[in-house]
Amino acid sequence: MFEFAQAAVEGALAAGATYADARFGLNRSESMFARNGRIETLRHGESGGVGVRALIGSSWGFMAVAEPSETTARTAGFDAAAIAKASALVPGPPLELADVEPVQAEWTSGWQEHPFDVSISERGDLLVGVTETMHKIAGVTVAEAHLSAWDTQKWFVSSQGSRIFQHIVETGASMGATAVGEHETQRRSYGGIGGSYATRGYELIRQIDMAGNAGRVGEEAVELLVAPECQPGTTDLILGSEQLALQIHESVGHAIELDRILGWEAAFAGTSFLDLSQLGTLRYGSELMNITADATLPGALGTFGYDDEGTPAKRVDIVKDGTWVGVLSGRDSAAVTGLPPGGMVRGEGWNRLPMVRMTNVGILPGTSSLDEIIASTDDGIYMETNRSWSIDDKRLNFQFGCEVGYEVKHGRRGRLLRNPTYTGITPQFWAGLDMLGNQSEWIFWGTPNCGKGQPMQYGHTGHPAVPARFRNVRVGVRGRAGA
């Protein structure tokens, strides 16, 4: 398949591109949804094509064609260059690329059991079984579960001599129960940010023991309907590791994207409260806060061998002992700022222009266990599993809701609380971090639906996290009385 990518690059260069690269992609996906003991959807998808990127002046031109021949791939390269040239009607400063050593390589993500090799009936039985278990619990109205799997092969060629083949397999699953009350609904789910996802095979599904957790999930959904509501106030907040993963994704991961900092995403995804002049000095959080972007973590959802510019995967410090020290970057954004290229540029597929993307942006573990954190909290709330998330376009003002909360009084976990929410301002919130879970509680959570760009692209990102405690957080934010 390298020949299609090569033809596309040649087409772009012949049409005047100063640099070009192309990816031929072959993507297969499967998804299965079950609801109340019945398989509701079973879908297979397959797509193949080439996307070519041409740089002329201040703009990228990008063209994607499905199912190409060498001729149509070459034409796509021509078209990409023509599109880039048209950008000169509204020109900016010439775009440069930071140097990256050309590579000829192959990389495979590795898996023990390819998800497509597991029979549909076995996978279906799992989903039917867990949704039956949840749905049988009195008060559960809707029980849902789903499995997803992706098999991605891509052949990358650049005009600077890179030729890279990668084969990446990802798998994920989720389940949840919804209980409907007279005035509101309550949901309890299992997994992390919408489920458990990893750059692994079906062994992930066998490991997470959905069947063993289905009953608990259903029961907790029903219990929530009659639980007391999380009251407004300011208190110490303990977050489960999956909620901390979401907190990192929204209030750190997006804020450190260099394209946002440079204003390239200002109209839609937004900008960032971070100013590059503060890199190396800005206090992002307490000294316990150590964040890395590490695309080399085995099995994490943001792991790969090379990004979609051919830059090798790497680990980059983002926040060190509470100080902001790094960004997520690609070759163009790095060149603008003089920073080293981070190898963090990926496209959703062969038909999308690659852009700066989180890899595995996560927090390094501390020394406490969750039990120790709770035991050392005199008055607070423990929240678990995200239910809603909202943050402003500078990644500063956030409000998150969780599925469950628990009172923490005198070092013990107390009553279940419904509708727990918390809100804050990013650096103030992270400054309150004072206890952090340990290595044994470090989990590589993943999210497969990170939206960014126009046209919208959904990225797969990883977020290693542990439980954590934050001091003096505003909780229990609600609408008007009765709402």
Binding site: T41, W264, S390, G479, R480
Partner: protein, 465 residues
């Protein structure tokens, strides 16, 4: 197809070929789509990303003795046999679906809406999009083309403004066929200019949506955005709490999107997750909401993913909830007919309206603002998330221009606020003061909405928390 002209028989023949591949082994429905999409992005007042894609997709859903599976591929030349076999193989492993509603019967469908397709927009060149962008970026008085561009851009820069956004063009055609004999075809085009002008303190947004790129006025959208950005100086913080608000169409569309997608979805309703109580006056009598893919003011395909023809469905009449959106499955369960709201691959999501209108009222936006003693003017909402579908409590933020209104005048720019508000409560009887005359396609969903004047909206936090 370079010319942008379509011959319906090409995709319909492909549908027939896929049905032939299934043969007598299953009931089947097939959708084949083909299209071109191009998008020119600008930031810091210049074009930095410029993309285009020619796309194609085939999808088959097979039903083998009540066992259902679907598969799709973009490999139309080489992948159709494999797609069909994958679907058939998968179906054999599934249990019988006792609620399978059957295929859509062959019935007459309305023709594609007049004006929903424009060949020039389908194949618009990047230079055409760049012109629209140029007009947006430098919208200052007069002709922004040619030599005047530099002056206009200089004006914007002198104001400390930079622009960011996108201009999109594209079109697609869709053919549908099933083994029950239904055959349908339609095509649409869409052109959008949307962006912001940014000042040091705030920004302002502008957006236009049309079926024809020729109908986009980049300068008008840019002037609107720049005007708001210029006013976004000496910004103040508004105190959290309940405020009278004037919602411009983009923010109204966010309200409509969440209310109709969750509430009028028959699947959610059957599960008890909807706020809708049919026959009850749940909204103010000034509000009438309907879904109509065939209305010439919107860009719509005349049939849904199951091959059911679309038409007008009144969801709310004078504040009374009157109907739910159905696909064939929810319709069977409710003992009624599909309303044409099936979503491709969306069995889990249920039926969703995509062509929603809020009937315009009788007050101009200027009159509405003039009638506000003290309130906030909201351009757009951002990152809205529903906390509970039954109460429709939503949290989100204001964006792209928030202003204080005092004694009928816009007096100050306000920093963005966070709200936590039940949408249905905000529209409840007696809570709507006025509905604007200025209906237009707006927002991310590109529904048709006018300005709304509401008595109260709950802001739960300011920019500083």
């Amino acid at each position: 197809m370079k010319s942008g002209q379509h011959d319906p028989t090409l995709l319909l023949d492909l549908c027939s070929r896929i049905l032939d591949l299934v043969g007598g082994r299953a009931e089947a429905e097939v959708t084949v789509s083909s299209g071109r999409s191009a998008l020119t992005r600008f930031a810091n007042s210049f074009i930095h990303q410029n993309v285009a894609e020619t796309g194609q997709w085939a999808r088959v859903r097979v039903v083998v003795d009540g066992r259902i599976a679907s598969a799709g591929t973009s490999l139309l030349a080489t992948g159709l046999d494999a797609m069909v076999e994958r679907a058939l193989d998968a179906a054999r492993f599934r249990p019988v679906d006792p609620d399978w509603p059957g295929l859509a019967p062959p019935v007459h469908a309305p023709p594609p809406p007049e004006g929903a397709y424009d060949p020039d927009t389908h194949v618009a060149a990047p230079e055409a999009r760049a012109q629209v962008v140029r007009d947006f970026v430098a919208p200052g008085g007069g002709d922004a083309h040619g030599a005047a561009l530099a002056d206009a851009l200089a004006d914007a820069l002198a104001d400390g403004l930079t622009a960011a956004g996108y201009c999109q063009t594209g079109g697609h055609e869709v053919a549908f066929a099933n083994s029950a004999g239904q055959q349908l075809w339609g095509h649409t085009t869409r052109a959008v200019i949307e962006g912001i002008h940014r000042s040091a303190e705030g920004d302002g947004g502008g957006q236009q949506v049309a079926a024809r790129i020729a109908d986009l006025d980049g300068a008008a959208a840019g002037r609107r955005a720049a005007g708001k950005a210029r006013r976004s100086v000496d910004m103040i913080d508004a105190d959290p709490g309940d405020w009278e608000v004037v919602l411009e169409p983009n923010s109204v569309v966010d309200v409509l999107d969440l209310l109709t997608g969750h509430g009028f979805n028959a699947k959610h309703h059957a599960e008890g997750r909807s706020f809708v109580r049919l026959g009850e006056q749940q909204m103010d009598e000034s509000l009438t909401i309907f879904d109509d893919a065939l209305d010439p003011r919107i860009i719509g395909m005349p049939f849904d993913a199951e091959g059911t023809p679309r038409g007008r469905l009144d969801l709310v009449k004078a504040g009374v909830s009157t109907a739910l959106c159905h696909d064939r499955r929810t319709a069977r369960e409710a003992g009624t007919g599909s309303t044409g709201h099936a979503v491709a691959g969306g069995e889990a999501a249920g039926p969703i309206p995509h062509h929603v209108f809020l009937q315009p009222g009788d007050r101009s936006p200027e009159d509405i603002v003039a009638g506000v003693e003290r309130g906030l003017l909201i351009t757009d909402f951002w990152y809205t998330r529903i906390l509970d579908p039954k109460t429709t409590v939503v949290t989100g933020l204001t964006r792209n221009g928030t202003f204080l209104i005092e004694n009928g005048q816009i007096t100050r720019a306000v920093r963005n606020l966070r709200f936590t508000q039940s949408y249905i409560e905000a529209l409840a009887p007696g809570n709507v003061v006025a509905v604007g005359t200025d209906g237009r396609l707006a927002g991310e969903s590109q529904f048709f909405a006018p300005t709304l004047h509401l008595k109260s909206w709950h802001f739960s936090g300011g920019a500083k928390g």
